[in-house]
Amino acid sequence: MIDVKKLDRELLSVEKPARYVGSELNSVVKDKEKTSVRFAFAFPDVYEVGMSHTGLHILYHMLNSIENVWCERVFAPWTDMEEVMRKNSIPLYGLESKDELKEFDFIGFTLQYEMSYTNILNMLDLGGIPLKSKDRTDNMPIVIAGGPCAYNPEPLHEIVDLFTVGEAEELLPELLGIYEKEKLNGFNKLKFLEKASQLEGIYVPQFYEEVYNEDNTIKERKVLNNNAKDIITKRIIKDMDKVYYPDKSILPYIDVVHDRVVLELFRGCTRGCRFCQAGMVYRPVREKKSDTLVNQAESMLNSTGHDEISLTSLSSGDYSCLPDLTLKLLDKYENDNVSISLPSLRLDSMTFDIIQRLQEVRKSGLTFAPEAGTQRMRDVINKNLTEEQILGPVETAFKLGWSTVKLYFMIGLPGETMEDVLGIKELSYKIKDKFFARPKEEIKGNLKINSSASCFVPKPFTPFQWTAQNSIEEFYDKAKMLQREIKDKKVSFSYHEPKLSYLEAVFARGDRRLSKVLISAWEKGCRFDGWYDMFDFDKWMEAFNETNVDPDFFAKRQREITEVLPWDFIDVGVSKKYLISEYEKSLEAMTTHDCRLGCTNCGVNHRLIGGACPHVQNNK
């Protein structure tokens, strides 16, 4: 155990000390003598962000439901705490036991966004654990990683011992089972990794080698170990009603980002937006039954005392039993001051009377994600949303009394012209006009339209994985133009920092050569890069320079369809052929319909589930 008294002496000097002490309600403390595998679930961001993540709660309780496994949590200490820890030689520790990271069998990082990578290095270093896999001996923890960014694991290949690809609820217990056996037989890391790599969905980077062409593209990938697979296939959970789900969740004492019961209605998405990685890699759609969800809501409310339920999924409005579920929840909880919110609401797919009833409990603004300002552009990205489908519901919402609207857009989408960019203004203004186009006596409230634009980042496993990202200058030009053009007091415009999006693009589609850049940037002091006030672009540029890696090569380069991509060895179910055809269709602004209306042959059915996708069957 770390010196707790030493910690206690210093904690009041840091911001939000409750981040670092644990003992929340429903956290799990076990007798370490009676457990054989100790797992540190590591979230490379601050406590409040990590504790808002549903996956953490699920995996934490799932691992702890295994008798001989003890899973604890560890988050990235904020800079003030890091300073305290370094100055007083307090190593990074698990929140539950206060044992230092070194004492764990596994450190499991979840990779939610590229800009948290330097925090991983920092956390290992604060735990006194060597950064590189090859420098860690048999008696040091195994560093594993999973989550959405593990679909392109290569930038972390030197650091992480093994990656889990896809949904881990079933995979993790299998992996820990193998580990336990190996531990009993006198542990040997290499032997363990060899055994693990035979599991579906496990990737051990050291068993492979990347060979490059002269132009820096990848020539081939060599498999170095006989036990390793050529292709790593992602894991999926087939039956969402049967998969492990905790009957309680940890209740943080301090305010976290999402401080409520979060119900995951389904996984996957059928819409096929061409920019969306989640929409591709989480296919196919697998829904939970509404009764399952009502039960899960009940146990979560009972175990936490929360007064808000939020229904989340990639596109919650598409849940086939949504009216049924919301009405059930409303009937059950309306009188208990429990409110229900639907964050990723699509107005085109939800009946207004339900929305109205939801709002009786707590009224919030309306959110809309047209993503692009013109119809042509929305067709390029396959948003499948017409202007009428935006304006119609907005009009209804105004009639019902709403007056705040948030609009999300992207700039820098493939094939975008200045006219498309200006479309963001046009659409925002059209929405404004709808508000005032009513008889005076019907106009209530003070209209506020907040339009924001993020900079498009091409992601692996999307039809846009081959496309070039805009340059930082192009992004600024577009954003600044909109800022100049949008002069109406009712409409405000904001945009995301292009430099951050550029770096995100580098790491999203990066290869093995980025590991050394990462280490160099961390050595220069980069951490919490996703936090805009911490982000130091110049340090990153120095790191690229020193390691002789050209970031433009990854962000700004248009790839040939035939190029070997760093993530090609991972199979997410959706076939490359499908991605190519979607990419080609995008060039002609041709749309592909939502696959609930009929399979569009993305390939996931016969590659992963062996049969037609359930949501298509349901529609027959």
Binding site: R9, G22, S23, L251, G305, D307, N337, R362, K363
Partner: protein
């Protein structure tokens, strides 16, 4: 249905949780316990509860108070039992009772009683006792810096004599002592334990470690609120 007043503890790691977070945590505990609380009317209904003076971060307590109005007839003993079954061991209700006092808890608090444990390698009991009696009898004046309404730092002179009712130290082990203190509290201000510790640091000797436990909140007759 009576208003219920409760004395509760806040110990261990919960000492790092702010007043606002405690408030929310207790309200959620009421939900978990399945107790029907009364809510305010209006656009954003909130549970009808009221609390005593906020406890500074870093202080443990076995004498915190809150009042709550219920929408069901629940004897205070039952309330306490139900709450304690869903609250962590670091925060438990010690006592519950019907409350017909119309004054707020804050208005009823006149004193706060503390036990402060200190550790120092050069602990000198004589120096400590001298300083403590000076603070209590003749008074020690120190400067407190505060931000005024315009967010400018202003200095305020504080005389310990005006805020301390009782102060006594006992040796409790090698290099360790225990200080018992009763501070006068009022809505216009009081002395902070931190300030007492700082005076000891500045005027007597350096402290290596300390713990602070608030024992109770007392009314104007020096009786516990509950």
């Amino acid at each position: 249905m009576c208003k219920i007043i409760n004395k509760y503890s806040k110990t261990g790691n919960l000492k790092y949780i702010s007043h606002l977070d405690v408030l929310r945590f207790i309200q959620r505990s009421v939900n978990r316990a399945g107790i029907r609380a009364k809510y305010s009317e209006g656009f954003n209904p909130h549970m009808k509860t009221s609390f005593g003076f906020p406890l500074s971060l870093g202080i443990e307590s076995i004498g915190e108070y809150f009042e709550i109005e219920l929408n069901e007839n629940l004897p205070p003993e039952e309330f306490k039992r139900k709450m304690n079954s869903v609250m962590p061991k670091e925060m438990q209700i010690i006592k519950s009772s019907c409350s017909d006092n119309t004054n707020s808890i804050m208005a009823r608090c006149a004193y706060a009683e503390y036990i402060i444990g200190i550790e120092s390698e050069n602990l000198d009991m004589d120096r400590l006792n001298n300083l403590l009696s000076e603070m209590l009898e003749t008074g020690v004046v120190y400067i407190r810096q505060k931000k005024n309404k315009k967010k400018k730092l202003v200095n305020k002179e504080i005389n310990t004599k005006e805020y301390i009712r009782y102060l006594k130290a006992d040796k409790s082990g090698d290099n360790k002592a225990k200080i018992e203190a009763v501070f006068i509290t009022s809505e216009t201000g009081s002395m902070k334990v931190d300030e007492l510790l700082k005076l000891i640091n500045d005027r007597a000797f350096n402290l290596d470690y300390h713990t602070i436990m608030k024992v109770d909140a007392l009314d104007k007759d020096m009786e516990p609120i509950l």
